[in-house]
Symmetry: C2
Subunit: 218 residues, 2 copies
């Protein structure tokens, strides 16, 4: 009874995502769908990223939350084009919400678009938004079992971030276990071990810059 | 197109939840639906709770995860009746999954049943499982904005736990802001500020014990 409806929703979503992808690609925008649990540090990472690239790249942000405009306000201090998408009780963004937000942006001015998804390790994974790459974000305070317990986000991500290394010595986190789980689930994913709090973000910044240039040259 | 199906799913869920509630109540079991983000410390809290009440209360556990039986294995060391429910890509437990698991438990032996929901602050909130009370769990490492950004879990919870006070001095967390947001969203909710790592759980243990006795006397 339920499955055909769900399949239809996903089919429509995929069609809209394909339109988004074409439009973003034509505008030379490299688009990242950033996914992670509540409080893993997505917004703080984007604040640091916007600051770092302030004079180098034009970065736009869409940010999904159930309610409030707090995250957009935080990032609006550092970027010209920031749009808050409130999902109500919705647990993830979909391609149509992104499409509506795209219509309110000047895409041809952007090098990068980051879509900060709703804080949730599960539902955002299954919805294509039209991004170039999905980036999954964990933090060491969440425990070393989170990759194994959330395999789909590991499968679907091109890059994984493991944040809060500034707290590493204060928590119980077996890095070998985490890395071994990752390798088993997705041998080709890049893992960047970072600390937003300490601005230890060199790998991430290099990756962002490389992708911004690859898109603008194409 | 989609809404009637969703409403129907919720209606069926509520009917099954009502059956669960009656059966659990008749068996004298006080039932807790424990909800929180991935890595907030739900399983560690339950391990500590099972150890603390080992000689005093019979506590059963159902634990929901996408995949793996890691959490059930962790808790199975301390409790006789532990059931892992794997949801696949499902982002929350529903009343029927709980009902199926109930049929495999000896309810009349239990004082307390804790249902550890899938790690997710959003989707579990809307599904009644037949519990006496929903308990929402945050942690200070997630940031002080999480109550405001996730109002529905605050509305629906009878008790809220704020974990990881052992890390309080290492993170930026304005406790006054968090408490003020809570008060505005749900003035009657109890907030227990805890540290599972340091076994600072006296308020939680007292609350569990009180509820176990209230049910067995009724």
């Amino acid at each position: 009874m339920k499955i055909p409806v769900v399949e239809n929703v996903l089919k429509v979503n995929d069609e809209i995502a394909a339109m988004n992808r074409k439009e973003l690609c034509d505008a030379g925008v490299f688009t990242i769908d950033l996914m992670g649990a509540p409080g893993c540090g997505k917004t703080s990472l984007l604040e640091a990223t916007l600051k770092h690239f302030a004079d180098k790249l034009e970065i736009g942000v869409m940010v999904g939350d159930l309610t409030t405009v707090r995250d957009a306000q935080r990032m609006g201090r550092y970027a010209e084009q920031v749009i808050q998408i409130n999902t109500g009780r919705g647990c993830h963004l979909d391609a149509n919400q992104v499409r509506n937000a795209m219509s309110r942006m000047e895409l041809n001015k952007l090098d990068i678009l980051v879509i900060e998804n709703v804080g949730n390790l599960i539902c955002p994974v299954g919805f294509d938004l039209g991004q170039n790459v999905k980036v999954g974000m964990f933090s060491v305070t969440e425990g070393d079992d989170k990759a194994a317990k959330h395999p789909y986000i590991v499968h679907e991500s091109g890059v994984l971030l493991l944040n809060k290394f500034d707290l590493f010595e204060h928590v119980t986190f077996n890095l070998d276990t985490f890395r071994a789980d990752l390798k088993q689930l997705n041998n080709s994913v890049d893992l960047f071990e970072i600390s937003v709090a300490e601005n230890n973000l060199a790998q991430w910044f290099a990756w962002v810059e490389q992708n911004a240039h690859s898109t603008s040259q194409s």
